[in-house]
């Protein structure tokens, strides 16, 4: 039987700012057989989304298909008139986009948009389509399937919206479904649920699918065959199993190596010296928004009684889902969001809660590096000026001295000295993050708050930044508070790890301890949700307990009861939701806050 999709020598060009055409997809040929799931994998700029969109005869503005052919189900897509193309789109080929929330029109209810393609192509009546959509909602494990369609896109969570998009794609029973990074923006715990329902839906229908992703571990669960792309060229095509076990292309090998966790931390486990005060000690911090009551608790608390300490030259990882209070913690320490209760101590000295009241030296000692490298750098200033500013502000360096210092800083983050004359827009994402690091280092801080510093970066670049962080720590003895939602990154660089959930510290211990059971049920959920780089991992793990929740920013009413209660697999009704949570010291050395005793946890989590 002929393949469903045949791409032959596809070339795509993009017009840059100067009006020149640059090839972004070069001579790409591949086939997709009926019933097969093919993954396009590569980093940003590899052309994977461009190829996926051209399978629907669509290009974004400034992009042109320059040559080659795409045959879909016997029709040559690139020769079709736009009227005929729109007949194929949505009916025979459906697309599940990446920016989930933005892909729904905010002005219309969801259901209307989910069934829209069936109405455009008149494949069924509106009532039939609605019934079918609701059946799909049920199949995709959406909560309240009968009524969720009446909501608007801002009223549902990220994981739900991704499933609604899948329902939108499947409603016309298309011959081909294109998934474009459908789970990239989701938390691991949500991702695993979305992946599971996607996989079941694909399997049940025998859908032919093209799955675009940068994440090998995710692709390994979904795809039969993997196409590895780099710079618009196919580097390797092979079955998933072969790519994972016997990669032939050098780039594939690099990708695989970068995806595997590697430990870079300077120390392993908690250091024992107790004579020196820790560089940072945070005690019983409460912070949030809104009116503060007489006990120092704000109307909307984002951090609830969080405490920890960081030793000089070591790294504390803070991990949790979005909305768990990770970034708030960094803002509280930096004094950007003053704590309403509790203390922050730097080298044993109490810091004023508000940054405005801290001395210049106190400010100098704590630096922050933000997630989005782009917006953290002033686009109108050269790199030299960006780095020179803290040198002048904190150390009073001017003229030649400052210039030499900028060059040293750039060297420290492995950038050539010539970068000083460039502007942020002329640098790549990884380079910008290096500049951000250099800017923090310019102040010669004792602590750097790293807020998701590697989250926006590709796997290979991320690995290089993590290497750099580890090297800087060895050379300069700087301590990090390393915030991330990505467990493998935290695993790679941190000595100690703190798990946050809805502003509560759930587990706190050494890196080694976190990977040892027993652990807090939430830590367990987080760790077991990280996709592993082997086929069949997704099928192998057991269904997890209560899923959909109103999690993250829950009400305040509960006070000191466990915020994880609603999602916990081993919760005790009438106790966890009523009593305050005790702190337990486990024999592995970590502290957890849980009603369950160590013995209970061991028994509950032993398969």
């Amino acid at each position: 039987m002929a393949p469903l999709v045949k791409v032959d020598r596809l070339c795509v060009t993009a017009r840059d700012e100067r009006g020149n055409n640059r090839a972004i997809v070069k001579d790409v040929s591949f086939e997709v057989q009926r019933g097969e799931v093919v993954a396009l994998i590569g980093e940003s700029g590899s052309g994977k989304t461009t190829i996926a969109l051209s399978l629907m005869g669509h290009t974004r503005s400034g992009i042109k298909i320059a040559g080659g052919s795409i045959t879909f189900d016997g029709q040559s897509l690139l020769d079709m008139r736009s009227r005929d193309l729109s007949i194929v789109r949505g009916r025979d080929i459906a697309y599940v986009p990446q920016c989930a929330a933005a892909s729904f029109n905010p002005a219309h209810p969801l259901l209307r948009q989910v069934i829209e393609s069936s109405q455009i192509h008149r494949v069924m009546s509106a009532a039939e389509a609605e019934a079918k959509a609701i059946a799909l909602f049920r199949e995709l494990a959406l909560p309240n399937p009968d009524h969720i369609g009446q909501r608007y896109s801002h009223q549902v969570s990220g994981g739900q919206i991704q499933r609604l998009l899948a329902a939108m794609a499947l409603v016309t029973d298309p011959k081909l479904v294109i998934f474009d990074e459908p789970t990239t923006a989701l938390d691991v715990t949500t991702q695993i649920e979305v992946l599971r329902v996607f996989k079941t839906a694909i399997k049940k229908r025998g859908t032919t699918a093209v799955y675009v992703s940068h994440d090998l571990a995710v692709v390994a669960q979904m795809a039969d065959r993997i196409i590895v792309l780099r710079d618009g060229i196919i580097r390797e095509v092979a079955s998933t199993g072969r790519i994972l076990t016997q990669p032939r292309n050098d780039y594939t090998k690099i990708l695989l190596a970068a995806a595997k966790p590697r430990v870079r931390a300077a120390t392993n486990g908690i250091r024992k010296e107790t004579s020196v005060p820790p560089v940072l000690k945070v005690m019983n911090v409460v912070a949030g928004h809104g009116a503060v009551d007489e006990r120092g608790i704000p109307a909307v608390p984002l951090l609830r009684d969080v405490g920890f300490s960081i030793k000089a030259g070591s790294t504390l990882g803070v991990i949790g889902e979005s909305g768990s209070g990770k970034s708030t913690l960094a803002r509280v320490i930096a004094g950007l969001l003053p704590a309403t209760r509790g203390e922050v101590l730097l080298n044993g000295t109490k810091l004023p809660r508000n940054a405005a009241h801290r001395t210049r030296d106190q400010l100098r000692r704590i630096q922050i590096v933000f997630q989005i490298a782009d917006t953290a750098l002033n686009p109108a200033r050269s790199i030299g000026r960006i780095l020179g500013r803290p040198l002048e502000f904190y150390n009073g360096l001017v003229g030649d001295k400052r210039r030499r210092c900028v060059a040293e800083l750039l060297d420290m983050v492995h950038l050539p000295a010539a970068v000083a004359d460039l502007f942020p827009s002329e640098l790549s994402g990884g380079q910008k993050q290096r500049v951000n690091l250099a800017r923090a280092l310019a102040a010669e801080p004792s602590l750097i708050l790293c807020d998701e510093v590697t989250s926006g970066l590709d796997t290979v670049v991320r690995a290089a930044i993590l290497d750099l962080l580890a090297k800087l720590q060895r050379d300069l003895g700087v301590a990090y508070l390393f915030i991330s939602h990505d467990l493998s990154t935290v695993k790679a660089v941190c000595d100690e790890v703190m798990v946050l959930y809805a502003g509560q510290r759930m587990e706190y211990g050494s890196r080694g301890a976190l990977h040892q059971r027993p652990r807090h049920p939430y830590s367990d959920l987080l760790i077991s949700s990280v996709p592993e780089l082997r086929q069949g991992w997704l099928d192998g793990i057991s269904e997890m307990m209560p899923k959909e929740t109103s999690a993250a920013i829950a009400g305040v009413a509960g006070g000191e009861t466990c915020r994880f209660f609603e999602r916990c697999a081993v919760r005790i009704q009438g106790r966890c939701d009523v009593e305050g949570i005790p702190v337990r010291l486990l024999s592995k050395g970590a502290e957890i806050r849980c009603q369950r005793t160590e013995q209970e946890l061991i028994e509950l989590f032993t398969p």
Binding site: G90, A94, S103, F104, P106, H108, E116, I120
Partner: protein
């Protein structure tokens, strides 16, 4: 309707009222500061110190400013802005004869302009950067950059003097047939439209283009939606807020622009009443006219904001 939306609407209306009150103070102080004395102006060359003093007392001009403000505001609120200083007619009556004419001119202009500029704006957005888009842009931009004064004069020279299609003066007493209305309004409406269409059309185009670049429009394209459906169903509903604002701002411009146009075409509207009042230093009349203009402006802007709020699903649901 939820509680948040109601709260936002109420606070928006409260702000409008507060602004109006503030404006009334400004108007009062502004007319206070104008040079010249009304009593002096009324008597002109016949002014004797006694007569002027007597008139000043009769008009409460001898009392402190804040008392006169409160007195004036109180009367304004009860619908009696007093009498004209010049001809002693009740201001309410003067305004009542002129306001309907101005409203008529404004409504005819709106009825002509708004649909036309929306069609032009949306179609330019659809065929962005095409020859059509550029022509429309160029034409509207050229018209908006010419002062109304010039447009009006040229229109009179061309259509009234040379072609003799329409009368140069838009004045008429008594009842009008539809044809007469068309004849009378053609030139003033044309002049006002030149500015209005450009403003509304540019904003509409920008707002719709902004929506057309969004991810949900790409999703709709990939669902196989045709261009018409994409624009009307997906882009326009999300552009209502900015478009409503542009319409309101442009229409409120009608009020100011109308002063010039009414004067040139000798149209018996509120604008000309104001110009005449300034010429004769008829303070109470000036104050009343300006307050009406301000109130209309604030009303329109508030209306646009409310339309924007109501079109925002995040606030509505």
């Amino acid at each position: 309707m939820n509680a948040l939306l109601v709260r936002l609407l109420v606070s928006r209306i409260a702000i409008a009222i507060l602004t109006l009150l503030f404006v009334s103070v400004a108007v009062f102080l502004g007319t206070e500061m104008l040079p010249g004395d009304v009593a002096q102006a009324v008597y002109g060359q016949n002014a004797t110190p006694d007569a002027v003093e007597g008139l000043r007392r009769a008009l409460h001009l001898d009392q402190p400013a804040y008392l006169r403000y409160l007195l004036w505001l109180g009367r304004l609120l009860t619908g009696d802005p007093g009498n004209s200083l010049v001809n002693n007619l009740p201001i309410a009556e003067l305004v009542a004869t002129r306001l309907p004419n101005s409203l008529m001119l404004a409504s005819v202009t709106i009825v002509v302009c708004v649909p036309m500029s929306l069609i032009l704006g949306i179609s330019s957005a659809i065929w962005q950067d095409s020859l059509y888009d550029r022509t429309v842009s160029l034409a509207t931009m050229s018209l908006v950059s010419v002062p109304e004064l010039v447009i009006a004069t040229l229109a009179v020279i061309m259509f009234a003097v040379n072609l003799r299609w329409f009368p140069a003066l838009s004045y008429s007493a008594g009842l009008l047939s539809l044809n007469q209305i068309f004849q009378l309004f053609a030139l003033p409406v044309f002049t006002l439209s030149c500015v209005l269409i450009a403003q509304i059309m540019r904003t509409t185009r920008a707002a719709v283009i902004d929506c057309l670049r969004s991810s949900y429009v790409e999703t709709a394209v990939l669902k196989g939606a045709r261009p018409m459906r994409i624009v009307l169903n997906h882009a326009v509903p999300n552009a209502i807020g900015p478009i409503a604002n542009a319409v309101a701002l442009s229409v409120s411009h009608l009020l100011g622009g109308a002063v010039i146009v009414e004067t040139i075409f000798n149209f018996p509207g509120l604008g000309r009443l104001l110009v005449d009042a300034v010429a004769t230093r008829d303070m109470p009349l000036i104050q009343a006219c300006v307050i009406i203009y301000c109130a209309a402006y604030l009303f329109l802007v508030a209306l646009a904001d409310i339309a924007g709020m109501l079109s925002n699903p995040r606030l509505r649901h």
